[in-house]
Symmetry: C2
Subunit: 472 residues, 2 copies
């Protein structure tokens, strides 16, 4: 149980869940509706450092019809519904801050249609990205979006996720073509088609992607696939300073080199990864890079990048060309989070997610490193720096409110800096519970009011994951 040690979210309005609704759900879903405390608690938290009372019940949906039925019942009783995939949100999206029921879509894990000849695949919302890639492996295609966690396609759509490959392949915004969605009234609608582009009315697909479960429950997702590159090479390069690594990244992007991944890890985080995964990576700021293309294209890209890096003081590249070596390298990157948690036993990470225009990256990052170092709080620092996006994870002892206060102060300073530099408070994690005030600072009260108007129009009873993104 993480919840007791986590930060309690003030109950905005813990709505009543009538026994009659629970009875109706039990009748419709039998043992697939659980009110067991352990099940509810498991569905009442995520990877954020927040806690709230668990939902009143968990419904395990196995079909779109199940989702529609559950939402209709919830609508009848004006009770909140929170869609749940695998629980990897970092922003409190899954917490039942206004009570209600959790709708677990994990069993909706069918790959419905692989259209390899069109480079598209349609899946149920509970399919995870690793499962998807396993399913399409034999076609010579792959789905590039990789947020680290093995999240579901529904969850990734709902948060507009991205991750390491986005610098080349874009985010869920660019890669979701079509959705099936259960609306707040329990109606099933479809948005988009498998055609690559369309001007057919409002872009409901893009409105729902990133809506964090507040406008409807995503039940099916059609995404773009890409041919597996003929050649893939990955490399590590260490730098004398974070600044040198960042300036190398900026030049790569400004020159338009189609690099597939360029990830920053700072020296302290390399140390944590080494300890966690028994590696012996050089404990200096490093860039992890990957190049995709034809053999000659990859060679060309790599040579250009090596030249830039070496001019800025980077060491020789260490190459990983076999799939096994590459997996090892990227596992190191994905272990940064766990390595950091292990470095301070019992700690929790408060993660930042700013993203700025590439030319502002050094300004945004370097001052924030100075501030974090001065604070004395341990942290990890990783970044999808090719997109101008990076994450500090401030490691706090949840029993020490003063550490949380320091982390929040650092986060506020960082977000303020990013907004001043024309960036965003969240590149890929979403607003959730934690960034509502930042959202207003970023986009202005008028734009947030427009979001509220849309929410009220599409969910008049405010039952779809209420209390996230903004309060009504």
């Amino acid at each position: 149980m993480n919840a007791p040690a986590a930060h309690l979210v003030p109950d905005i309005c813990q709505r009543e869940v009538p026994q009659a609704l629970l009875d109706a759900l039990k009748e419709r879903f039998a043992e697939r509706c659980s009110t067991a405390l352990v099940v509810r608690e498991q569905h009442g938290r995520d990877e954020s450092s927040f806690a709230a009372p668990p939902p009143a019940a968990v419904v395990f949906a196995e079909s779109t019809a199940d989702v529609a039925a559950a939402v209709q019942l919830a609508s009848d009783y004006s009770v909140p519904v929170i869609a749940f995939g695998v629980g990897t949100s970092l922003e409190g999206h899954l917490l039942a801050v206004q009570g209600g029921i959790s709708l677990d879509l994990g069993r909706m894990n069918q790959v419905l249609a692989i259209n390899a000849e069109d480079l598209t695949v349609t899946v149920q919302a509970g399919v995870t990205r690793k499962q998807l890639n396993e399913a399409v492996k034999s076609t010579g295609l792959f789905f590039p979006i990789d947020p680290g966690a093995d999240a579901t396609l529904g969850g990734m759509s709902a948060t507009r996720a991205s991750g390491t490959n986005a610098v080349r392949y874009g985010t869920m915004r660019e890669n979701v073509l079509a959705l099936e969605v259960v609306t707040a009234s329990g109606e099933v609608i479809r948005t988009g088609t498998r055609a690559k582009k369309s001007s057919a009315g409002y872009d409901l697909t893009r409105l729902l992607v990133g809506s964090e479960g507040t406008l409807g429950v995503i039940t099916e997702v059609t995404v773009r696939l890409y041919p597996l590159p003929e050649a893939i090479s990955a490399a590590i390069c260490s730098f004398p300073s974070i600044e040198a690594a960042v300036r190398t990244t900026i030049q790569i992007i400004q020159l338009g080199i189609p690099i597939a991944r360029v990830e920053l890890i700072d020296a302290g985080t390399v140390r944590m990864v080494n300890a966690y995964a028994h590696l012996s990576l050089r404990e200096e700021p490093m860039l992890l890079m990957e190049f995709h293309g034809s053999p000659s294209g990859v060679k060309e890209q790599a040579e250009l990048v090596q030249e830039i890096a070496s001019e800025l003081g980077g060491n020789a590249f260490e190459w990983a060309t076999t799939p096994e070596e590459r997996t090892r390298l990227w596992t190191a990157r994905h272990n940064a989070y766990f390595g950091a948690l292990q470095s301070k036993p019992g700690c929790r990470a408060i993660s930042t997610d700013t993203c700025v225009p590439i030319s502002r990256l050094a300004d945004c990052l370097l001052d924030s490193v100075t501030e974090a170092d001065a604070s004395g709080l341990p942290y990890f620092l990783v970044g999808h720096v090719g997109d101008g996006n990076f994450h500090f994870g401030y490691l706090i002892d949840p029993g020490k409110p003063e550490e949380r206060a320091i982390a929040e102060r650092l986060n506020h300073a960082l977000v303020a800096r990013a907004l001043k530099l024309e960036g965003t408070c969240t590149g890929e994690h979403g607003v959730g519970l934690h960034k509502m005030d930042f959202l207003v600072s970023e986009t202005g009260a008028g734009a947030v009011d427009m979001m509220r108007s849309i929410k009220r129009a599409l969910d008049p009873k405010n039952i779809m994951n209420p209390g996230k993104i903004f309060t009504l």
Copy 2:
């Protein structure tokens, strides 16, 4: 005057424009508010074959404050406002079908900020794509979206335009980063930032892109730029049949070759272009292609494509490597529309815009060619075939209703086929007046109702370009 010969749109509800509003506009805008018939008629039509009574007045905005003031006044009197760029819509977007005022943004043509180091540029909505490319030329960057017409960035955003380069660089959906918008109440809001990605709340940018002026007036647009490719080559290849050209395209896309343009022109259209532009292109189905990249990358792409084309019966490539030769080649493509109009004096074109998944392209296109040939109606046929998008332009004598009826029948059959093949009725032109029924067939009544709910929430008086996309 095209209007008298065009197809009259039934007045859904020609709302009254009170003299008090005209007086107030005259007071605020003086000579920048015109009620002269010639000005109103010029703003009351577009490149579509529709006609409606002209707007009651035309306001020439020179600033966002002007737009806000005009919209506020229109809102006070519940009078429709139709934003006008350069008038190149093909779908009747600019017609005052419910009366009201036209808001000409053509004078808002300032390039506000070129951020070359971030590959972004911010412009006022009245800047045209050619003007934009001229303005950024010295930076070594370019804006790729090319719908043919020299449209404004505001208009291109409002219709989610794309064109010849979209196969590689995406559409306005992928390339607009941020907007400034005047809402239906006359409030100025901003959506998005210059950061490359964001998960900050609802994607208002993508909702407004493609909303056809029905949710607000776009006043500023921030778009992505791209480094001018180190090498560019363009080539023409003729084929023994449309099918061979289409099958070549399908293979290019399925192999993931990053071709920058691949355009189909059928033999009849080549003939029209030759006559119009005094060219001597081989009068066979042809693909016009362009390759962008490093010199070796371009060579590699071109070799692969030549191999595919030759296996499918394509002739040797004719290359255009100098900028002048390339311009000549693409001018030929862009002249297809005018060449076609000239081929049947006095005619108007009814343009189709279906887009299907690439594997369905041959099925969709070939049967439609057979049908069009059998109808006896002359037509042009061009296509952004790499995206699965193509346009028939049925050439009708506007004085002969029977020709319009044939064209509409062909269009209906084509759209029905495209929808059955999981495509869309409009790849890039928008719904406007002509495709409302198709939109319902495509996405379902539930999704269109969701669009209506959003419209009602954001424009409760229904004054923003009413009567387009759907009726309320």
